[in-house]
């Protein structure tokens, strides 16, 4: 019996090491969002393509929407742009854009060059709306249900896999 007890420290070390090993696979840059299952904060800002008008909160009501935070200075945003165009053409969800800490000129140039997948684009030149949404990097994509509640957030570019296996089922669920 005593001999067995001597192995307790070894077991302890084994448990700690396996915990370390399991956490090696975690990405520390993915900070879980606290905004999920909360009401979408105010997105009241001018529209990029019609600066005299402001984004209306009622726009998001009645259907599931994707809100994509992007900027012309953000290279990984370009990576997902093609997929965003495909998503827009599929008409499966309403896609809105938040142009984060950008100049209207640069943003418009990007849209002319690569196409505009967004139904409406909110111009957030100061980053204030980004703070309200808890954005800490671009691109970030929020899934908002028909009642205006945030249901998911994708950090980094959307891939075909995340679109098909994560976002699309969620859109159908929250439609």
């Amino acid at each position: 019996m005593k001999k067995v007890l001597l192995f307790i420290p070894f077991l302890g070390v084994l448990i700690v090491l396996s915990l370390f090993y399991m956490n090696l696979k975690q990405n520390p840059y993915l900070i879980p969002s606290v905004m999920i299952n909360k009401k979408v904060p105010s997105l009241d800002a001018p529209l990029l393509l019609a600066p005299t008008k402001h984004f209306e909160a009622s726009t998001l009501k009645g259907h599931a929407s994707l809100v994509n935070v992007f900027a012309s200075w953000c290279y990984s945003c370009l990576d997902e742009h093609k997929l965003l165009m495909t998503i827009a053409k599929s008409h499966q969800v309403n896609l809105y854009g938040i142009n984060y800490k950008d100049t209207p000129k640069a943003a418009k140039a990007l849209l002319t060059k690569y196409g505009n997948p967004y139904k409406q684009i909110i111009s957030d030149s100061t980053g204030k709306i980004g703070i309200n949404l808890g954005v800490y990097g671009t691109p970030e994509t929020f899934l908002i249900d028909k009642k205006g509640i945030i249901r998911d957030k994708i950090i980094g570019p959307i891939t075909k896999t995340t679109w098909r296996h994560r976002l699309l089922p969620e859109i159908k669920r929250y439609q």
Partner: protein, 133 residues
């Protein structure tokens, strides 16, 4: 010869005075010294979400700049430290705090050292008693 060297050195030193024209970034107009101290203390206790082991005070990330401006505005509007922290936690989660709060998920984190210490002391006492006998 020596005079020329002196002039050349003086001129070189004079060049450094150019930097006195550089304007420090992030100067917020606080109404009192106390507010400024609070700003420094708060931004030291908060984590930058982009450069994760840096605090908001030292970080050069654009988001850190925006959050500093936001905190400064809130201090100027007479918000308390806990109100400001609550605002940031509401948007970015407890992750933004360097010191984790004492909540259900962190009980183990906070209490484990105390529990382990008590266990170790008891173990030691038992051992001493055993040796004495």
């Amino acid at each position: 010869m020596r005079r020329l060297l002196f002039i050349s050195l003086s001129l070189s030193l004079l060049l450094f005075s150019i930097f006195c024209f550089s304007i420090p970034k992030d100067m917020y107009p606080f109404s009192s010294h106390q507010q400024h101290v609070r700003f420094i203390n708060l931004t030291t206790q908060l984590r930058c979400l982009v450069c994760q082991n840096q605090n908001l005070k030292d970080s050069e990330a654009p988001l850190a700049h925006d959050l500093r401006a936001q905190i400064a505005t809130m201090i100027q509007h007479k918000k308390t430290n806990s109100q400001i922290k609550a605002y940031l936690v509401a948007h970015y989660g407890n992750y933004i705090l360097f010191k984790p709060p004492f909540i259900t998920t962190t009980y183990f984190l906070w209490l484990a050292p105390i529990v382990l210490f008590i266990v170790a002391i008891m173990w030691l006492l038992l051992y001493i008693v055993k040796i004495r006998h």
